[in-house]
């Protein structure tokens, strides 16, 4: 890569600027009922070694037979990444010794992966989009799980995860900051969830990231990279990159050389540390798995899977921009979660009516999102129904209530009257906006009469008007139409 470094992405060392270069390997657990090469369940949890067949335990004589749904999921995901789908791919054995890998090798794809190069568009901020290249996606088996903390001298092994299908998605080294890396993983997770090929649950380990980090002075060739293994949250990915880049810059500025190695991120101590590098650890001695024929399918199979894909986030975002006139950023926020995007459309179209799409978007990305975040849910997961949002927006649109009163109504929906129609809340509590000019005029007259000094001030300094508006609103319990109050005050004060 010899592209120009973006000055805004550079970080300062003691001896000048450095550029961070990041590439990622994401392991995404394929959503399927049974494992990649055996009929055992993929269900999370379960008693130790319950979801294990003789194939997963690598008993002698057992042969792998591929799960066609896992193949379909990999192809769908490849299509979602706008990637080359390889009609012929090959499974290889990646040999290494570890007790939670009973075969002594992982069945993976080395030279000929099922999916080749692709691209992901990533929104880093409201004003910046980057393209991250995909190097490849291949299918492989997950390993089992070792528990080390039960005894000082022994480890316990559970093979429930052994043989579950993973997609390893390898990016090109196209990211230049921790923000870009976090945005990339977020976007990738959104795409996987839309397609339904991975649930993206990082806590349960369905999505794990190995992050490759190197630094260089702008314009120089790529530096030596370190791989930070198994980072299990998007926040930690950002932190791990920051501290690892700082560490490497420190090594270089002290006149040292960065060693290529595998490191672990310790969130508690905020540092990365070298995994005791077993020499020869990377001698995997790959060779084609003689138990498996090449994986082959035709273009018609790929086309059929493509036809069955849902509308993907980028396409949905474009449609929200053109169909609802939303700003790109709002559209991006809404489509980041498929259920929220569906919720939005349900609210806009509720009851067959068409209501202001921008106003609905403002509520969903503003106050409703704030509430959802505060309770740790997505907008669609809250108890508030799209119909209630539609009703609330209609009340604002026909001037029955002001935006300020609408916030109060939302608070009531969140609090005491979870299932109520906002129309009924407004009616029952008499929250309708006062547009009756007689009533507003009376309130205005009363305030003017009570504050002759302020009247004189306001006439000299029209920005005082706000104080009068506030007083009138207070007197009317916030129900006066603010525009009508403004007009009345201006007329009466002669400003």
């Amino acid at each position: 890569m010899t592209t120009q470094a973006k000055p805004s992405k550079l970080i300062k060392g003691a001896t000048g600027d450095f550029e961070i270069v990041i590439g990622m390997e994401i392991h995404a657990q394929v959503t399927s009922r049974s494992k990649l090469f055996s009929g055992a369940s993929t269900e999370f949890g379960g008693e130790p070694n319950a979801h294990v067949s003789l194939v997963d335990a690598a008993m002698p004589g057992m042969l792998p037979v591929i799960n066609q749904e896992c193949v379909a999921q990999a192809v769908r995901t490849g299509l979602g990444l706008e990637a080359q789908i390889n009609l012929r791919s090959v499974f290889d054995r990646k040999n290494y010794f570890y007790p939670d890998l009973p075969q002594g090798y992982q069945i993976s794809q080395y030279k000929s992966p099922i999916v080749g190069e692709g691209i992901v568009a990533v929104d880093v901020s409201p004003t910046e989009q980057i393209k991250v290249g995909i190097e490849r996606l291949h299918l492989e088996q997950d390993a089992g799980k070792s528990l080390h903390d039960q005894s000082a001298t022994e480890s316990l092994v559970d093979l429930n995860r052994s043989g579950v299908a993973l997609m390893e998605i390898v990016s090109k080294p196209d990211m230049r900051s921790s923000d870009e890396a976090r945005a990339y993983v977020t976007k990738l997770r959104t795409i996987l969830r839309y397609i339904g090929s991975c649930d993206g649950n990082m806590e349960q380990g369905s999505l794990r990231a190995d992050v490759n980090v190197s630094v260089r002075r702008p314009g120089e060739p790529l530096g030596t990279r370190c791989e930070i293994k198994n980072v299990n949250s998007i926040r930690f990915i950002g932190q791990a990159i920051e501290v690892e880049a700082r560490r490497q810059i420190g090594v270089i500025e002290d006149g040292g050389v960065v060693q290529q190695e595998t490191r672990l991120f310790d969130p508690g101590r905020g540092e990365t540390r070298s995994m005791r590098s077993k020499e020869e650890a990377h001698d995997y001695r790959y060779f084609p798995d003689p138990d498996l024929l090449p994986l082959e399918f035709d273009q018609a199979y790929v086309d059929a899977l493509k036809a069955g894909l849902p509308e993907l986030p980028d396409a949905k975002k474009e449609r929200f921009i053109t169909e609802y006139g939303l700003p790109a950023y709002d559209a991006g926020v809404l489509v980041a979660d498929k259920e929220t995007a569906d919720y939005y459309e349900a609210a806009v179209r509720h009851g067959g009516a068409t209501r202001d799409p921008k106003l609905v978007a403002n509520w969903l990305t503003g106050d409703v999102a704030a509430y959802a975040n505060s309770v740790g849910l997505s907008v669609a997961q809250t108890h508030i129904k799209p119909g209630q949002i539609a009703s609330l927006v209609d009340l604002i649109a026909d001037a029955t209530i002001s935006g300020k009163i609408a916030k109060d109504v939302l608070a009531i929906l969140i609090g005491d009257e979870k299932d109520a129609d906002p129309k009924d809340i407004v009616a029952a509590r008499g929250l309708q906006q006062v547009t009756d000019t007689g009533a507003i005029a009376a309130a205005v007259d009363a305030i003017i009469k009570a504050n002759p000094d302020k009247v004189a001030q306001a006439q000299a300094k029209p920005s005082m008007l706000g104080w009068f508006v506030g007083q009138v609103m207070k007197q009317t319990g916030g129900k006066a139409n603010p525009q009508a109050v403004n007009d009345e005050l201006k007329a009466k004060l002669g400003i």
């Binding site: 049974s34 369940s41 130790p48 799960n67 000082a152 092994v157 559970d158």
Partner: protein, 95 residues
């Protein structure tokens, strides 16, 4: 191509197979015999010949995505040298 004794020991270590010093020369000769045989194959001209992956031209067999196996923890653990409840128990291995 041939392997030396150090390579034999390294391969054994990677596979976690215990090899005594007495066995090394014998294994070295066995491996070199295999390599000599493969080298002989390399003398055949295969220019333009597609690699054969199967004797029979047949597609890879595929399964439906149905749970048909598992829930046999006792069978899985039957030959385990050591176990604790339904876990395998192995000498401690930590990265």
């Amino acid at each position: 191509m041939s392997v030396d004794q150090a390579t034999v020991r390294r391969i054994a270590h990677l596979a976690r197979i215990k090899v005594s010093d007495d066995d090394v020369p014998h294994l070295q000769e066995e491996l070199n015999a295999i390599l000599r045989f493969v080298e002989e194959l390399a003398s055949v001209d295969v220019e333009g010949v597609e690699a054969m992956t199967s004797v029979m031209p047949m597609p890879m067999k595929k399964r439906q995505d149905i749970v048909t196996d598992g829930e046999i923890a006792d069978v899985i653990l039957a030959n385990a040298p050591e176990r604790e409840d339904h876990f395998f128990k192995v000498p401690k291995v930590v990265e």
